[in-house]
Amino acid sequence: MSKIGVFICHCGENISATVDVARVAEAAGQIDGVAFSTDYKYMCSDPGQTMIRQAIKEKGLTGVVVGSCSPRMHEPTFRKACQEAGLNPFMCEMANLREHCSWVHDKSEATTQKAIDLVRTLVEKVKLNKPLFSIKVPVTKTALVIGGGIAGIQASLDIASAGHQVILVEKDPSIGGHMSQLSETFPTLDCSQCILTPRMVEVAQHPNITLMTYAELEKLEGSIGNFKATIRKKAKSIDENLCTGCGTCITKCPTKKIPSEFNTGLGMRTAIYVPFPQAVPNKPVIDKANCSYYQKGKCKVCEKVCPTGAIRFDQEDELVELEVGAVVIATGFDIMQPSGFPEYGYGKYKDVITGLQFERLASASGPTLGEIRRPSDGKIPEKIVFVACAGSRDPAKGIPYCSKICCMYTAKHAMLYQHKVHGGKSYIFYMDIRAAGKNYEEFVRRAIVEDAVNYIRGRVSKIYEENGKLIVKGVDTLLSAKPVEIEADMVVLASAAVANPGAEELAQKMHVSYDSYNFFSEAHPKLKPVETNTAGIFLAGACQAPKDIPETVAQASGAASKVIILFSKDELSRDPLIAVVNRSPAPVFSTCVGCFMCTSACPYQAIGEELITNRQGKVIKKVAKVNPGLCQGCGTCVAFCRSKSIDIQGYSNEQMCAEVVALLNND
């Protein structure tokens, strides 16, 4: 005998403005099996929840339907309220009257009728709900952090300091990321490497952190609290235990003209190399694609000169399996290559460079030892033009968003240029100046007032070369409303921040959502910035969206705190909405015929075999069995089963059929 309680929420005016909530409650009260029906302004509030709890106790309710917002919002809230009143939480369902009804329709009879239909559907479902109990799984208190930039470093240090094991995986030979490529950081003009390298060393020395560089995620299986990650440790061709980091091999390597990735192509490196002097770990790797030995079978000079015999040409990639409880994705971003903009001449004219390349020029350990020099002839530019928004905020180029950091770093670049080239003239073509952080506006003012940087509000239409100079054709919309032509010696394009090239593939490996720009999706844009829709996987840094260093560090600590919260319990409660193969008494035992179609359908290998034996031990039947620890509750097996022997709790065949019938029949 069902005694369902129906609670219709006004949600302030969000629902009641377009839906006649009183009528919905009244109609619900007429449904067979509904013992109590009411409406209230804010069901999720304290008094609202008290109302539910009281009704459960006073009316002896066997089920609850709350007609309010999306269950993705408040299902846990109402289920908890029911639990507190002594009703099994899985006897509570929500009808989505807000996101799917009141917010998307105008006030009308049809809207109210739709709300009534939706409530009725869930009432019929709840009548068939059964009490369910959470499944407890143990939590592996080890975290996997993917990406060794400042985000990954910060997250690793926080989790490790809380006493948990961390494995930090970085695909490049050294950690540090883009921050290690910067010369100085805004708004303080701190030397980037000076503030970063102590953290890098801390990571390497921390007893709780295992650092795996030159390694990538190959596969991720399992679920929150119990992931199994397979890491591919690419062959460095070096025995790290023997290597002392003396660097002799690097000085003797005959292949010296490989464009250095760290120096953004402006400098060269050898085939056996360390990306930059402060690399952590400070041990080289051999770039197989460019090494004479690997490509042509010659050389081996490094092996000859290595004092400890650490070179290992026979080293292969190694696959390592890790058991972890949580994953933090901190894979960072990339800078768009503006060769897609022929009007700017990037790639055609050597002296048109990106902002990141300018950082390397300005860097004291960079290819020009900190002097701003033209890549074409090494001369110092007397006039330099910076083009802001080169690609960003431009739907025609495919990047409608703002890359956030460029206004600040362009101001910084212009300031650094003025500091280094006394008497030089710098110009910035901008659309807006976005300097919203702490001390950011003052920083930009400094550039204008103290360093005499010329800001021109207008876009650049074309850059071309004439007599060794770069002619920049733009417009000044603010002061003169006239076209402007500048003969520059060098042009720096603040090109858009984009997702890393491997981002989509990584997201698919981890079943994490991503948007159309391949940035990873947060679970909620306002309230869940560090979680993803995949439980147990968190986000930190620019892989989620372009952001500066202070925000990255804050987000990384946020992700770390979520991991620490997860690890604060020994056991995790899993939703019991999983599949179950039916069992019945002898002689049937189960309608399952043992075809195991379900096993082949399950993406989690959660369905195995069970042998049903008689008292003599003779096997009567081989049937399917679901492992409750692995089943994720997708229900694919249920749709496969031809004998309808497997069903999923919370979305059973009976329940879904009842919902369909209830939705389409409004009598």
Binding site: P71, A601, T636
Partner: protein
């Protein structure tokens, strides 16, 4: 003579389309009232006999929507659903049921406006196709047979 208002039922997956429809709501994008959603954990869960059941219960049109290929929260549920749909579509066609009455789509959690577009275009299509009356004819025939 009131204009025919189609009755359309939507089977959507919790992780993508349901969330996408939530986003439509959060973004306050308006669409036709004729579509009502039933939540599934995954499109892979959808037993396609439920689609036939829906027509039998008076639905004029059906929307089935889930995650984009490669983005399924449960890895492969949507692939199974897609394969099922391809087979089922052929079967429906053979039975004489107009497959235009079923709209199969992928809507991600970020595609709020796409969900609204799909709802509106499906409603228009079903409106043009008219009410689904074939099942009634069969049911009437069966009833008549039963009496004899």
């Amino acid at each position: 003579m009131t204009e025919f208002e189609p009755k359309i039922i939507a089977f959507v997956c919790n992780w993508c389309t349901y969330a996408g429809a939530d986003l439509t709501g959060t973004s306050r994008i308006k669409y036709a009232q004729n579509v009502k959603i039933i939540r599934f954990p995954c499109t892979g869960r959808i037993d396609f006999m439920l689609l036939l059941k829906s027509f039998g219960e008076g639905a004029d049109g059906i929307i089935v929507s889930g995650c984009h290929p490669n983005d399924c929260h449960y890895t492969s549920g949507n692939f199974h659903a897609r394969r099922r749909w391809i087979m089922f579509r052929g079967l429906l066609d053979m039975l004489g049921i107009d497959v235009r009455r079923i709209q199969y789509s992928w809507v991600s959690a970020a595609e709020g406006s796409k969900w609204a577009d799909i709802v509106n275009s499906t409603v228009n299509t079903i409106r043009e196709l008219g009410p689904y009356t074939e099942y009634e004819k069969v049911a009437g025939y069966l009833e008549k047979e039963g009496k004899e």
